[in-house]
Symmetry: C2
Subunit: 149 residues, 2 copies
Amino acid sequence: MTKIPEHHPSPDLEGLIGYNLKRAYVTVSDDFRRALKHDNLSPRLFSALALVKAHPGLSQSALARQLGIERSGIVAMIDELEGRGYVIRKPVPQDRRRQALQLTPAGEEAYKIALGKVQAHEARLLGGLDAGQREALISILQKIRYQKT
Amino acid sequence: MTKIPEHHPSPDLEGLIGYNLKRAYVTVSDDFRRALKHDNLSPRLFSALALVKAHPGLSQSALARQLGIERSGIVAMIDELEGRGYVIRKPVPQDRRRQALQLTPAGEEAYKIALGKVQAHEARLLGGLDAGQREALISILQKIRYQKT
């Protein structure tokens, strides 16, 4: 399948890392959405499941910070995952304002299936990168993510 | 300035290129917005100016395709740039449904100033990458962007 019948690059934009990051992310996330269409999981919902799985008892606000989204957005997202029976909110006795998030067995199972599909989507979409390019890319992206600004 | 007081990574997510792309883009675009706050130009508006500058006479639909956004979104965006006096829509005599976009002198000037700030923002934010890493990153991201899916 081909795409972009007409191509209009800007030399200024092509030299910017931000523009290339955005456009590469759009390519990857479009394919991610196609791969997980039947699971009805967006990249964001998938990431939320992954983070709760890795950190059972995580608070909503810690999850929001990790995902880089607003507190209002996280509440709607957890409502959605709770409504599907994937996540539960457990009260924290020591702190009444806080709720600890946990995956249910159905959430664990849905995450496991989705992770397999996501890994297959990346292997297929990014098959043109060799192992060295893949590693270099992840290492440079992590350097950007974790620097102090 | 430090950020992310609490850090909760997921080993599954850290190994995915899509997640690293998204998080790196969020870091870069947050800094971009700070750098261009006084110009009131989002990454998307800036990219639109860059593309119209590189391709005077570009149609709205070609610009929408290049930016990967919906036609409804592009109309609002061009209204905004036209309202600020940066862009004009010129009718195309051969095709009444089409309008050719062009920067005004004020748009050229605003773009030139913004481009200088964006290049300074990237040099500052990404100063930890050496020239080889920068080139490798752009080349791998373009490989992802331009592959057939």
